[in-house]
């Protein structure tokens, strides 16, 4: 299987340097334990497996292991479609927590990706929230700004702020106060099917270099093979949509605000800029002009693109490293000829860096999740067992568990996780992990604003839908979205 050379990729260009400087600038406690300025696949390999951690002993300093208490806890769970490996680690985590803290009565509730935020919002309105919650990275600021969350920083559970990605800490900070701790952080990669590329007359081992190439390749694949070229995702109210469209928008030089710059102020709305419109035009060209993306893109989320990719009906998509594990799972469970066919898909999977814009700018969403403690008045029963909440947060954000819980699809929120033996094992076992870790320095956090969920999950997908359905022209759709963001922000 061919793999692209990535060592030099992360060192390329000033974008990385600027972004890294930006990420490090929020460091408060001196030099970070993991040197982010050296970040590269080689560096990650060099630190993997170099340090051991005793999670129970570390967390005992935060909450004694014989502490008696009760905790209600919600989180985005892993379910039937997720890789077996990940499901096993989640099970192991809760088993281990119960063994480590036998006197804490834990009532955990796993919720699905697209429903967690809505259910949590309703529970808050009814003062029936759980004591602790793990939310997608987009959610924290909304709830912190409304006063639902207790201030919470890594030091409160025995770690240092420097143990976490500075960009991730920005996402849990509101008006200078941190309200949560990152559990995992990731950037996605560009995935393509080498066999489809070959049959379409493209270089099977070379991803499109720019987004303009993506449009061109998508058309070529569609015209020659009659299948979808690029896995456009434009469903409304699903986190998957901005995760795939924003890298394109930023690469063209656009943005919702100035979030892609080194020191964003979030003061000027840029959705109606010529660069943003160029990105939207690229999606329009693929969907309307070339018809080279799935016709179902308007209702698709990534879970709908993945089967198309597996079926050899889709040439390219943006996704997590977990897609490779999902394929391994499918292959393992298939029988007879299906097993061989699945192996063929695996053999043809290729991961590469997400394409750049016309000016060489490469960007990807800095994703992940954070864990928070609620204020008692919003919790069912009006009481929060803080030591119990801190115990589970300490354990989840530890180097050991923040790595294991993100094993197949993300990266540890606690940077010390990269030093564990499990990281070494992961590098050895998960194909293409280098690519996704190489994308991390290109990661751009969503604006840490309370309005971010509505902007990203509603307004941006609406803009796409308005343009792609022909309800508005590209210009009108971008202008309309910009206007809606301005109104939402209170007439900036």
């Amino acid at each position: 299987m061919t793999r692209i050379t990535l060592g030099s990729a992360v060192l390329r260009g000033t974008v990385v340097t600027v972004l890294m400087a930006s990420l490090m600038s929020t460091s408060a406690l001196g030099a970070p334990p993991v040197d982010l300025s050296k970040w590269s696949p080689e560096y990650v390999r060099s630190i993997a497996g170099t340090q051991n951690f005793d999670t129970a002993a570390d967390c005992a300093k935060v909450t004694p292991l014989d502490y008696k208490g009760r905790l209600t806890f919600w989180y985005q769970g892993v379910f039937e479609g997720d890789p077996d490996l990940l499901r096993q680690y989640y099970k192991d985590f809760f088993d281990t927590f119960r063994k480590t803290y036998p006197n804490i009565q834990l009532e955990e509730q796993a919720l699905t990706y697209n429903d967690l935020l809505d259910k949590f919002r309703t529970a808050l309105l009814g003062n029936a929230a759980p004591m602790a919650v793990r939310l997608q990275i987009l959610g924290g600021t909304e709830f912190a700004s409304k006063g639902y969350l207790e201030p919470l920083k890594p030091e409160d559970v025995g770690y240092s702020t420097d143990d976490f990605w500075p960009g991730a800490m920005k996402a849990v900070t509101w008006e200078g106060v941190p309200y949560g701790i990152p559990t995992n952080n990731e950037t996605m990669a560009f995935i393509w099917n080498a066999d489809i590329f070959k049959r379409a007359g493209l270089d099977p081992d070379k991803p499109p270099a720019t987004w303009d190439d993506v449009v061109k390749y998508s058309k070529q694949i569609h015209d020659k093979l009659g299948i979808a070229g690029y896995g456009l995702v434009a469903r409304k109210n699903a986190g998957n949509t901005p995760y795939r469209f924003m890298p394109q928008l930023w690469a063209y030089g656009g943005g919702v605000f100035d979030e892609a710059t080194a020191n964003p102020t979030y003061e000027e709305v840029e959705l109606d800029s010529p660069q943003s419109k160029a990105a939207l035009q690229a999606s329009y060209d693929m969907y309307v002009r070339d018809k080279s993306v799935p016709v179902s893109a308007l209702t698709n989320q990534q879970a709908d693109n993945q089967p198309l990719f597996v079926a050899g009906q889709l040439g390219m998509m943006i996704s997590h490293p977990s897609d490779y594990d999902v394929m391994l799972d499918l292959q393992k469970k298939a029988t007879g000829t299906d097993k061989d066919k699945a192996q063929t898909v695996i053999d043809n999977m290729r991961y590469g860096l997400i394409p750049t814009g016309p000016d060489g700018k490469r960007a990807v969403v800095f994703g992940g999740s954070n864990i928070h403690i609620l204020k008692p008045e919003y919790v069912e029963g009006g009481k929060v067992d803080e030591p119990a909440a801190k115990a589970i947060i300490c354990m989840w954000t530890s180097p050991e568990w923040s790595l294991k819980m993100a094993y197949a699809g993300s990266n540890p929120g606690n940077l010390n996780g990269f030093k564990t033996k499990w990281m070494k094992e992961r590098l050895d076992n998960i194909e293409f992990l280098d690519v996704t870790t190489s994308m991390l320095p290109y990661g751009i956090p969503f604006p840490a604003l309370p309005q971010a969920p509505e902007i990203m999950n509603i307004i941006v997908p609406d803009m796409l839908q308005n343009a792609l359905t022909g309800a508005m022209t590209v210009d009108q759709a971008a202008d309309d979205a910009a206007k809606r963001v301005k109104e939402l922000m209170g007439g900036l």
């Binding site: 209600t72 892993v78 479609g81 309105l125 759980p130 998957n240 198309l308 999902v326 292959q331 299906d338």
Partner: protein, 296 residues
């Protein structure tokens, strides 16, 4: 030149052909409709016996090369965590739907009878007011009902769902049943009263048996409404051991992937009670539909 008899014969033949033509067109239409409604069920069944990889293949396999019952085994295996969850969710749904149905019928039968037989001030207004709840989307009531359930201490209990389902099941039940009572001649009750029966006895002995198809149809509607409901169940229940099937089935969707065979097997299993209910009670259901259509 043809005789009058021959002309008449040809005319009758043409009419018969026209009638036969319409009859055949009707039959074809029925076959089409049958296929139209059955194909999704058949496809669901076929997908449920595929492997995860085969379920994503295109062109789709109309019949899997390697059919497997693995998804069903997983769902029905109490030793497996997926099976434990599924069986518990199934039982929870059955419990909530059955209790909702029984309560719906117990309350709707006398209420509908009262609306049908008694005259009291504000009757028409009350009768239409009953339906008001069903004129708005369910989501509007989500937060108010959530707060109400919390105040009542019913959060994370099946009682919260049963009470909520009654709020939209009862109005429909009352409306449906009133229609049936209206169609039962009041003279039958009057005759029973003349024979010495009390109003209650006349209701139990005369009206109830005659309205059985209507009560059963109403019960089926209530059961299906409660069996399929998702939003309230998702919002009011936050404990694994309480969840109902529509919520549990969502677990086959993950952030980036879907377990299609598992989802289809669970969906098929979920449809079984409703199908059995229809098969067992369909003669009552058909009678209810036809009797409700004719004004006596």
């Amino acid at each position: 030149m043809s005789t009058i008899a021959e002309t008449a014969f040809r005319g009758r033949t043409r009419r018969h052909m026209r009638v036969d033509g319409w009859r055949w067109a009707g039959r074809l239409f029925l076959v089409f409709m049958l296929l139209y409604t059955a194909v999704p069920m058949i496809w669901m069944l076929i997908t449920s016996i595929k492997s995860g990889f085969a379920a994503t293949q295109f062109p789709p396999q109309w019949w899997p090369d390697e059919p497997t019952l693995a998804s069903y085994q997983k769902l029905l295996d109490p030793q497996n965590s997926v099976g434990q969850d599924f069986l518990r969710f199934f039982w929870n749904s059955l419990f909530v739907s059955t209790v909702t149905t029984i309560l719906s019928v117990i309350v709707a039968v006398p209420a509908a009878y009262a609306f049908s037989r008694f005259s009291f001030p504000g009757r028409n207004f009350l009768f239409f007011a009953v339906l008001l709840r069903n004129m708005f989307p369910a989501v509007i009531f989500l937060v108010p009902l959530f707060i109400l359930m919390r105040v009542l201490g019913l959060m994370n209990t099946h009682g919260s769902l049963i009470l909520t389902y009654l709020t939209f099941g009862l109005p429909l039940a009352i409306w449906l049943l009133k229609g049936f009572y209206d169609n039962i001649p009041v003279q039958l009750e009057q005759a029973a009263r003349i024979d010495g029966a009390t109003r209650f006895q006349a209701f139990i002995l005369i009206v109830m048996p005659l309205s059985t198809p209507g009560i059963i149809a109403t019960a089926i509607y209530s059961f299906i409404g409660a069996w399929n409901e998702y939003i309230y169940a998702y919002t009011f229940l936050s404990k694994n051991d309480q969840l109902t099937l529509p919520v549990g089935i969502q677990r086959f969707f993950s952030e980036n992937t879907t377990d299609f065979p598992g989802l289809m097997a669970a969906s098929f299993m979920m449809s079984v009670p409703v199908v059995v209910l229809f098969l067992v009670l369909q003669r009552y259901f058909v009678r209810a539909l036809t009797e409700g259509a004719v004004k006596h």
